[in-house]
Symmetry: C2
DNA sequence: AATATAATTTAACCATGGTTAAATTATACC
DNA sequence: GGTATAATTTAACCATGGTTAAATTATATT
């Protein structure tokens, strides 16, 4: 729409671009026009125009032909939207029984349209949660955010015993397949074999053995598992 | 925004105009340009333009200078949005503890952004409810809708014993004040006195007596109360 | 029937956020 | 250092949904 209802300061488009820049610059420091265009599924020209607009509004810093990064004000907005997104995902999962592959699409829209009141109420109802259904950290009300946990599963070596801490949230088919393999948050697994030439990884979960491709393994983030110590 | 995300067929603006036409034509049969503009808080020129656009898309029928009415397709969309709105209002009230004066504003935005999945899930969770927190009927999944119940309180006469079936949902201050007077859905009251020249109405609720103005009384819809018969 | 007034429509304009095609700039390689 | 290629930016365009001001039409009154 053109009219921005009630009290929102920025359009849905601006919010989504800023959020995408935040997520992309986590990996790369700064974000190129074409990376952003790809993530937003628009043309590079649209990306350039929006970068110009964001920079005029002091949400980003931009040096022509050399990528964009968020200003402190931009980061604040990104974290607000990410907080909405992840709280909504968790709420849909916990309160309404959504599966972990269904929550992202719904949250992608709702994140722009809930009030601070709604945010506060679901935050309280969920008892101030720290992670979303994919293991991503939820920014606090003060917009502090914990670091992302885990390293990609395809970086691990045969013999390692690992625990799943996080998964990429954006690919529903991958998420459904992982669930089908019983690979959830907290699942413990052992790497049995890793085929060369980017071949499949064989792993053991409970008594079962599975073989998964490198691409799928790249969606799963793990850390070494040390048996929990009971006092 | 300009881009209409994912699967929605019509913009938020179109949805809100169509919904407003539906609500206005309930009273008046057909809706004038200026009535619509007033309800949408835009200029008459914007209203005219949208009416033209809706008519080109076969959501309304329009004869120049003589008002607009919904086509069957337009009515379908209106009922879908009204169903969203009222289900969301009830959900916010029941599941998240919103007061009846808070739900309308939040639902006004969310109604455009929930999926059919979300609609189905809250409908089930609320056990397929028939009325919203203001006593308005909720269209069924097949978009059948019950008639609005009750007549304006200011049409009743001294001596009448009445039950509150419905209230206007759009004025939060009025709703808060009614709640403060313990005038809720299902409240039983008796008209004691009605001052002439549009003067106040005195009524008795339980042991308490209140006096309210005609304007506020026009927000409350009642029917004659007949003591419930127990088998 | 003519006319004043109010309602409605049209015209010209604007901002947002898209598109494709052309121009510009960076950079990798010979 | 010149040049091919890829990335980026600019230009020209479009749709949506607003605005205000001017033109048109309906209608109520004399
Ligand atoms: Mn989004
Ligand atoms: Mn997530
Ligand atoms: Mn609305
Ligand atoms: Mn309502």
């Amino acid at each position: 729409m053109v009219q921005d209802s009630s009290e929102r300061l920025f359009s849905q488009s601006v919010e989504d671009y800023v959020k995408s820049i935040y997520l992309l610059q986590q990996d790369s420091g700064s974000v190129t026009t074409s990376e952003l265009a790809k993530k937003m599924k628009t043309s590079p020209a649209a990306s350039t125009k929006m970068i110009k607009h964001l920079t005029e509004n002091r949400l980003t810093e931009h040096t022509r032909y050399h990528g964009v990064r968020l200003s402190p004000a931009g980061e604040k907005i990104a974290l607000e939207i990410i907080r909405h997104h992840r709280l909504i995902e968790l709420y849909l999962h916990q309160a309404l029984g959504y599966e972990w592959d269904e929550v992202d699409a719904e949250a992608e829209k709702l994140e722009h349209h809930i009030s601070e009141e709604f945010e506060a109420r679901i935050d309280k109802m969920l008892d101030y949660p720290l992670t979303d259904p994919h293991g991503d950290p939820i920014p606090t009300r003060e917009l502090e955010i914990a670091p992302r946990r885990g390293a990609p599963l395809d970086n691990s070596e045969p013999g390692d015993t690992l625990i799943i801490l996080r998964v990429r949230d954006s690919n529903p088919e991958a998420l459904r397949y992982l669930k089908h393999l019983e690979m959830r948050l907290g699942t413990i697994l052992k790497i049995i074999e890793k085929q060369p030439f980017n071949g499949p990884i064989t792993l053991k979960i409970g008594e079962k053995t599975h073989s998964i491709g490198r691409e799928l393994a790249g969606h799963v983030f793990v850390e070494r598992y040390v048996r929990e110590v009971v006092d």
